[in-house]
Symmetry: C2
Subunit: 384 residues, 2 copies
């Protein structure tokens, strides 16, 4: 039985298409079959032979624009989709890019190529690299960031750490991503004390350090916490879109009243990049983070306690700055298992447009936390 | 420098802990090291040697409760966490279970063991298996479901399909998950026409078929669409938590005004289960789906166009019904590339408590769609 109705007239489609580059593992013929399946799976999800000629075939179906060898083990298929099928929704865009195909092994989303007409639907990061630099009054050098932790300290203790970090010259003092609203350090008290502590240090140093509050929470709470944090004097927000959804981060970034820079945290997103299928580091932590409104993207640095390679980290950097219409470039914020010795190597890889994220390592350098921060900053200033 | 502050007093912790079973690939010593790292990574994310004796070590740190061989290639570690560190938040619970550990390859969340005191914070599915059966007035047999599609049809055409499906005896007629609010079939008109079409068929058949609207959308839109769908007469909602976040689905399920059964769709969740790391099928599509309030969980059936094995599908069934306090059991809804010939084999695997989800296959059986549905229903009624 063929679907041979009048269907949607072709004139509803502008002809504008966005393209997704898939890397497909397997032999050439297997990959070709998989590419053809993607065209269907991500759009009509219906037997193609049952669809009559017309607008659905001409516009709705995915279209293979390029098919060639990627490397010995995989092939590259560039597939385009009508911008209209994403309906201007970030959720539906992600669904078209990788929704059901995420369930098929051996397929990686390598790159997104988005036309201006599509990008115009998205505001992207409010600050981006340049806006964040202006906010912190740091025109050239890399930014320095650290986290208050561990979970289990009281709000007073966390705020005391925040004070010392800011006094030592850290630019961005963020919550650890595991700090939400636990009994040990309730959200409202924590953001109030930490914001005040950083403001106090700023009065002493003359710096413009900011406290960044983790607002990852239930979906009703996220925006409430964003407003609470802003009212308390927080200078930025951190959210884990793997837990709350990418679109909620976009809404935060779009919210005129909230109006704070946003750091995206990779929690619960790892499975997209650790298997032989998923998304490239650059797409997930770069392009999608930008489309979702993050101003800085946190990820595990190469050589730390996670497994990202130097190439994968470079791919993230590429994703943070690849041209995407008016969508601003954003800061890579590599962290995890870092220590001071790695600063030169990182500058060589990332350049100056990065946020150094250093956690436990700051405590190891010596007994005086403020001095440890100062050494870190001096080293970056001297090299960067 | 040791964190030697007063910290949080131990009395803030009840001593109640939830447990996560991790399967860790590698040698015994590698797996042991990884298990110890998980205890830290998922809680304090801070060098353990820098934390003094006291409440943080005693309560906040993860604790290895069991460590033994899983199979030749992997080991099993049961790690417990204080319920308080999840702060009663689904987002933070998922963060503790697998947040940063998702970024480390070769670790799978195999099972969740949650104490009643923890489960009491979650309502879970509003209907579950029994509630959905009562709603549809189908006490024993498997339920029959299909989807209106393909994307590209007009609302009238989709509604006409919905009418035929309902007339043929399909119990649940859902939107394809790619139908959101496209120009071809705008959300509001679609749910109105499809709900009316199913109601009209019900008047003719005496059945209680329902139309289930896909409300996956931007986070502000999801609840709005839920209300619009309910007002239009939809009998259920479908949402893809991979796109909107698990917690938003939980909020939908908890919403007294919305009060409709919810189907969860696996879009954008595949990477959790396709690599050698991630979550087990039973945890992701069973236990987490239930905790997040789904009444039925859609996933690709074994032997279809996806790669799930029969064992993996059986694991999902186990996850939908493993005892979890007052959290109801839910329906497995296997689909994807199904056809009528597979009904007997599926009944043998899943038993009667399942939702058959059949899409394009219904069109292949013969020229008359209503008759095809009737054949499907007859077969299930005769066997089941």
């Amino acid at each position: 039985m063929i679907i041979q109705k009048t269907c949607t007239p072709g004139m509803l489609f502008s002809g504008e298409r966005f393209s997704v580059t898939y890397r497909i593992f397997g032999s050439e013929s297997e990959a070709r079959t998989k590419a053809e399946e993607i065209c269907i799976e991500q759009t009509i999800e219906f037997p193609a032979d049952l669809v009559a000629e017309g607008a659905i075939r001409d516009h709705v179906l995915g279209r293979i624009e390029l098919f060639e060898r990627f490397d010995q083990k995989s092939l590259k298929a560039v597939i385009s989709y009508a911008v209209e099928i994403a309906a201007g929704e970030l959720t539906q865009f992600l669904n078209v890019v990788f929704g059901n195909t995420s369930i098929k092994p051996g397929i990686v989303v390598e790159h997104l190529d988005l036309p201006l007409s599509f990008l115009a639907r998205f505001r992207g990061p409010r600050y981006g690299r340049q806006g964040t630099r202006r906010l912190l009054d740091i025109p050239h050098r890399p930014l320095l960031s650290t986290a208050v932790k561990p979970l289990g300290l009281t709000c007073r203790e966390l705020a005391d750490l925040a004070y010392q970090f800011a006094l030592g010259g850290m630019d961005i003092i963020k919550d650890d991503h595991g700090l939400t609203d636990q009994c040990c350090s309730p959200f409202e008290e924590r953001v109030k004390r930490c914001s005040e502590a950083v403001a106090r240090a700023n009065r002493e140093t003359g710096n413009k350090s900011i406290y960044v509050a983790n607002i990852t929470a239930s979906s009703l709470e996220v925006k409430k916490r964003a407003r609470t944090a802003k009212a308390a004097g927080a200078g930025g927000l951190m959210v884990a879109p793997g837990l709350v959804g990418f679109d909620l981060m976009r809404e935060l970034a779009d919210d005129e009243e909230i109006d704070l820079p946003i750091m995206t945290h990779p929690s619960f997103q790892g499975s997209f990049v650790t298997g032989r299928g998923g998304m490239s580091h650059g797409v997930l932590f770069g392009q999608i983070a930008r489309l979702s409104g993050a101003d800085a993207t946190i990820f595990p640095n190469f050589g730390g306690r996670f497994s990202f390679s130097r190439e994968e980290c470079a791919d993230i950097v590429a994703g943070t700055e690849v041209p995407m219409g008016d969508i601003k470039t954003i800061f890579p914020a590599p962290g995890g298992g870092m220590n001071l010795d790695r600063v030169p190597e990182m500058l060589a890889t990332y350049g100056r447009d990065l946020i150094f994220l250093i956690g436990g390592g700051l405590f190891r350098h010596g007994q005086d936390l403020v001095e440890n921060c100062r050494s870190f900053r001096k080293m970056v200033e001297s090299i960067g």
